[in-house]
Symmetry: C2
Subunit: 415 residues, 2 copies
């Protein structure tokens, strides 16, 4: 079964919002063994929507539309898609009642334009919306299926998980299984050349890509059962590990922060943070991980030197002799953060994220990353060498490098 | 001039990466007055790439392709696009030399497969890549233009800004100007119904949408000069402000953290943070803003109660009588954070982000947000009422609510 996603909304074409729905659906469809061949985005323009939807229904068996189910006049997905498929929309009193009570439960009154959302395809399937007012729906005609889902991710995701998956699973055979091999410290093309022969494979396929300063490999196997597909992936991942094992930190898609939290949980250790230029980015990423509270002691975002000194005990000499962007400052920040807490480890970052603040010998993109562990402290110098629009990138990679220092520490011990 | 964006890469269809390039280009094109009518995404599949590109060149004057310029065998954008347009690829020795020196400057050797990136369209325009090895290029044939750009945002953005914009600006007339009206504390459909008549306008257009717990209006005017377009937008925004002014916090697209940093700079005040469930998210968002170092004193991520007590001075009684998820704890955290520093204001958040940790009377999504200011402290209770996949959402909205409390404070004073 081949599929196509159509994101509907002028806000997507104007770049006001990111199309995260497409990424989420792409992942889920791949995992279900539904081949996604195209994505499209079209604005709230009836004529162009008609063309897009017709074109998609011609070349794809399953078309998933996201967005345009809202209460406002420019929300036309249901209307146009049903028109193209020759399906009638009818008012569903029960849904109208749900929408009313949704507002009541939030102490608000339903505005009249929400009525529109209670119209559903006469012969279609309706998907309830546990997190909003717009129901989703599916229409089947001439062997083609169109599924319409609300745009807001917090409405779309649970609806897909709880309502659409069961609906689709009846229609699919076989499965596609994907695994992600994540590396740190090697470039994409270097990695690719080391596993070049494996990239030629048909099943499993191995595809390299770069993301936020990391190089990744996506291993995807097609098989009748999940177990068969898993075994096929395991074999290839074994070969990959022989080539670039030193750079691999996870083979199940776990990102750096998830890997760090896992390692700390497994070893019953706690972490503290002292962040300057990363400004809480490491703390944010660690606390993105469910369960991190058990291993994350605290973090201090010490943007001012006064705080570096008073809370973390960085010495006046260090500021005077080396400035706050120095190996010495990073070391003292990490040690200070560890001493101030019950943590077993502390990570620190001080650097120049840009766009301003760089100099000849201390350019934008320079960071010092400290790691305090039982019995010592070590500091890494990082030069991202990126000059333009680099603030977010510099901060992300500095945070990643810090997280990876902790992973390396455990890797060294586990041999 | 109408345009279409094609994102190339199986990693997009598998959902391994988010198509942020499409959002960036969409914004830039809108600002340049180039109408973006479609976006497509296609995998690294020669046949489907051919179809996508031919289809795009038929219906659009300008086609921008992103990705697939990498060094690996599945990077085929240049090859297929030039084939479709009947353009020849030739090796450019100078570019090959640049690529070599790019690696040398990073103390690495160029791997052979990077040679591929030195091939460019014989009669095309080449865009240099200041941040990577893949040059971009443009091909013009039969009144159609195809532009090929590298996928990694940190390579694509500067290339578009410095090389592609000048190239495109010659080809465009007139301009489209967009303004974003950002609100907090009102739902999308409520907002839309209050400005319903304005949503009917043709030029400027007014489009509502919801994003991360905020309701926004996008005002877009077409005119001959930027000044005319700006005036057209100003008039509509004036009308919008009469209807929903109380909820508006910015009319120039500035988000909550940018608005907070601006207000603090303008008033010469400093901010401190004490974050529990948001785990550094507020600090991260504030330090995303260039110049925040002048107004951001420090932040403490106090995940453990021990730290809330020792560093922030939350009293034992508070934990015993009210638990750490309470109005009292939020108030003491904010006051503690303010006292511990030279800051004029402090924000605090304590709550239950989920998925676990919720109870009948203290459900997931409940947060208390404290705001300490000269002469007082105030606490808001937030119930996001979202049950599923809500951790990121709950944390984001709690952070947003905190930031907005500071904005309200200044709004109240400026009248």
């Amino acid at each position: 079964m081949n599929c196509e996603i159509i994101g509907v909304g002028t806000e997507l074409l104007l770049g006001d919002i990111l199309n995260t729905d497409a990424q989420y659906l792409a992942r889920e469809l791949a995992a279900m063994g539904i081949g996604l061949h195209y994505q499209q985005v079209v604005g709230d323009n009836p004529q162009r929507m008609r063309e897009c939807i017709s074109n998609a229904l011609e070349r794809s068996e399953l078309v998933i539309l996201t967005g345009g189910l809202g209460p406002t006049a420019d929300d036309l997905t249901k209307e146009i898609c049903c028109e193209v498929m020759g399906e009638e929309l009818v008012l569903d009193e029960a849904i109208l009642e749900n929408i009313r009570s949704y507002f009541v439960s939030r102490g608000r009154a339903m505005s009249e334009n929400n009525r529109k959302q209670a119209y559903v395809p006469k012969n279609g399937t309706v998907f309830r919306n546990a997190n909003g007012t717009a129901p989703g729906c599916a229409v089947e005609k001439d062997g083609k299926v169109a599924i319409m889902l609300p745009g807001p991710p917090r409405e779309l995701k649970p609806m897909f998980e709880n309502e659409v998956k069961p609906y689709l699973s009846e229609k699919t055979g076989g499965i596609i299984y994907s695994r992600q091999v994540r590396t740190f410290g090697i470039g994409e093309s270097d990695m690719a050349s080391r596993v070049a022969d494996l990239l030629e494979g048909e099943n499993p396929t191995v595809a390299p890509y770069a993301k936020d300063g990391e190089a990744l490999l996506r291993v995807t196997a097609k098989a009748q059962t999940k177990q068969q597909a898993e075994e096929m992936c395991d074999r290839i991942i074994g070969k990959i590990s022989e080539r670039i094992g030193e750079f691999i930190y996870s083979t199940d898609g776990a990102n750096l922060e998830e890997t760090v939290v896992r390692l700390l949980l497994k070893n019953g250790k706690k972490l503290a943070l002292a962040e300057s230029c990363t400004g809480g980015y490491i703390a944010k990423r660690i606390t993105d991980v469910v369960g991190s509270s058990a291993v994350f002691e605290y973090g201090i975002v010490s943007y001012s030197n006064e705080v570096k000194q008073r809370l973390l005990g960085v010495s006046t000499e260090t500021f005077e002799m080396y400035t706050e962007v120095s190996e010495q400052c990073a070391a003292e920040m990490a040690q200070g953060a560890k001493q101030l807490s019950n943590a077993d480890f502390a990570l620190s970052v001080t650097g120049i994220s840009g766009p301003g603040g760089g100099s000849e010998d201390k350019p934008v993109g320079l960071s010092y990353i400290g790691f305090a562990y039982p019995g010592g402290v070590t500091v890494k110098e990082l030069r991202t060498g990126k000059k333009e629009n680099a603030r977010e990138y510099n901060r992300y990679v500095a945070a990643s490098t810090a997280l990876h220092m902790l992973i390396e520490y455990f890797k060294g011990r586990e041999g």
